[in-house]
Symmetry: C2
Subunit: 369 residues, 2 copies
């Protein structure tokens, strides 16, 4: 397999040396930054994540800070999600779309103060989009990328690790809420959130010398819990139906097609409002579904989606993410499926690199949190 | 060395299968797309590029098309480069900056027709920046990413290959001009341009089944000229002083600091105009220079810039790209150097992973075209 050619353009994180010392075997690149993808093996990482606790370098979840008198107006313009009643200390998953309804990103919004927000972004340059809009419209806001590098603490033992490191009882912290915690006289945002179904936290670390210190403190606190360096796991997130921007959703897809209709509840005005109203009236032509692919374990779906067909041989969509699940004993998958065949139980065929297989449309994900 | 984890988010190109068949050994990721970085070895690729001719998959140079009644006004707003006198058939290298003067990208603009342009972009989501500006300002333009995947034909024998494939005499085509050529009844943009100092062309290929066909035709036509699959070569481009966005210039750097003052000649209005005027008045505080680093061959500079110091131990900037040059017998480098020590001939010190070395500031690049 080809290596990753290293250069400054694919930014290191404050944790890259630590991640390499833990034996990272593969990287992805996300927001122009290194994102670990495999440590021991996809399967071994998967079993460990479900059993114990992992520390993830997700620095590539860059923050776009928006602050100023027009911040609230701009935030609402950016998303179909209703943001007007958002309270300080809340996280909000917010699809971000263009005028045609196409997905541009799916950040989590954190409201830090009145008039001050972070967008914790997926893999596209939201900084440029938001700055362009603000400059074009003449809005009174500052938009920038602060030096914040999130760590995720994920897995069933995550609560225990967080309690030990920060001396707080995290059971009080509800899902998608955040609180400030102290470490070495620094105040940090700690949110109950993360890109797995195993539970856990995201810790928004300032860069510089502080970052490796907190990494080591967390690893030390979790040693007897078998904490390991880890990363978002492709198998687990497909089982859990967690969509990945750029993989399962692109600019070609709308949030309604992506099953994110519940997050499109804003009164507006917001960008793409007319397009979504039209799609709601006409009905979506396709939608993302979880699917089970039959037969022997498949290598994960790579750059190229696998085409879906009906049993009559008509094109029916495509699989965008797939991997063999040891726990479910089946190839788990996510894909965009045409309306005509998106009902749960529909049997389709899929053209994989290992030949034609059966693919069964499911009611929902294999796993929920 | 860690592998690159493959997924749809790191897009394949129409040429990826062909590139893999040619034995690509390393990839970079550029505009969310695979960019080959090494075939045989950095050194072997380098010698071959200077001697023969190579075909490069630079599909990751994505095009952002801007068309409509307000296109010319928007194009000028996007860059400090004067664009008003641009003729159809011309390419224009155009720094793109924000309000503070920070570099956002350095595309080549191609004027296809009156009111219709391509930006052939470096590694940032210019599509989002331009769409944001246009939407915010209410400009009457369409902005989109067409299905165009450039190939580069680079090296001293590139003219001969192009003459054979397209039946044209390319000596008539001047640097940074383009013409339409025909292949298999398709009309293609062929420009005399490319990211090397060895001369050659960029061919803007439509995607789909046509793309592999033209690849194979070019490889076939160049067989007796020892044509090979290749890619932008780190050693050659550092020798030639070709800057790389994300490596040598970032949002932290202005075009004046990057030595691009000659391309900042617009009357305006354009974004960042006041910031550049201020910098011109006060003088830049630092500038990009070519440097020669003493001692044994160094491994290429990776994610982390190498800090420069004066002989008195004061910080003097940083090296952002470096590699050992077989032809010059020295470690060639590019870096941002403080005004106090940017004169040619200044001897600095640089902290490399192999220890402290001497670094001499040069008058210009090692190599010119």
């Amino acid at each position: 397999m080809p290596e990753l050619a290293r250069s400054r353009r694919l930014r290191a994180t404050p944790f890259t040396d630590l991640v390499e010392a833990e034996g990272v075997k593969a990287y992805s690149v996300y927001n122009h930054m290194l994102l670990p993808a495999v440590f021991r093996s996809l399967e071994e990482d998967y079993h460990h994540l479900k059993r114990a606790v992992q520390l993830w370098d997700v620095s590539c979840e860059r923050q776009v800070e928006i602050c100023g008198p027009d911040a609230a107006e701009l935030i609402q313009w950016l998303t179909p999600r209703e943001t007007s009643r958002m309270k300080v200390g809340r996280c909000l998953y917010a699809p971000m779309i263009d005028q045609t309804g196409g997905m541009l990103n799916d950040p989590v919004i954190l409201k830090l103060q009145e008039g001050r927000y972070w967008l914790s972004i997926a893999d596209s340059d939201v900084l440029l989009w938001v700055r362009g809009l603000a400059l074009g419209k003449g809005l009174d806001v500052d938009v920038w990328e602060p030096d914040i590098s999130p760590l995720a603490i994920q897995g069933p033992l995550a609560d225990e690790v967080v309690a030990r490191v920060f001396g707080v009882d995290p059971t009080d912290l509800r899902f998608f809420r955040f609180q400030m915690v102290e470490y070495a006289k620094r105040s940090l945002v700690l949110a109950r959130s993360g890109y797995s179904r195993q539970g856990g936290f995201e810790l928004y670390c300032p860069g510089g010398a502080f970052a490796p210190m907190i990494w080591q403190a967390i690893m030390e606190a979790g040693r007897d819990l078998d904490i390991r360096a880890g990363c978002p796991n492709a198998i687990e997130r497909i089982e859990g139906g967690l969509l990945s921007y750029g993989n399962d959703m692109t600019r070609e897809d709308t949030p309604l097609e992506c099953g994110l209709g519940a997050y499109c509840d804003a009164a507006g005005p917001y960008i793409g409002q007319a397009a979504l109203a039209r799609e709601r009236q006409e009905g979506s032509k396709r939608g993302i579904r979880s699917l089970a692919i039959s037969g022997a374990p498949l290598a994960p779906c790579g750059e190229r989606p696998w085409t879906l067909f009906t049993k009559q041989g008509c094109e029916a969509g495509h699989i965008t993410s797939a991997a063999f699940s040891p726990d479910f004993g089946v190839n788990v998958a996510l894909g965009m499926v045409a309306r005509e065949c998106w009902e749960a139980g529909t049997m389709l065929e899929v053209r994989t690199p290992a030949g034609i297989r059966d693919a069964a449309v499911r009611e929902g994900p294999f796993l929920s949190s």
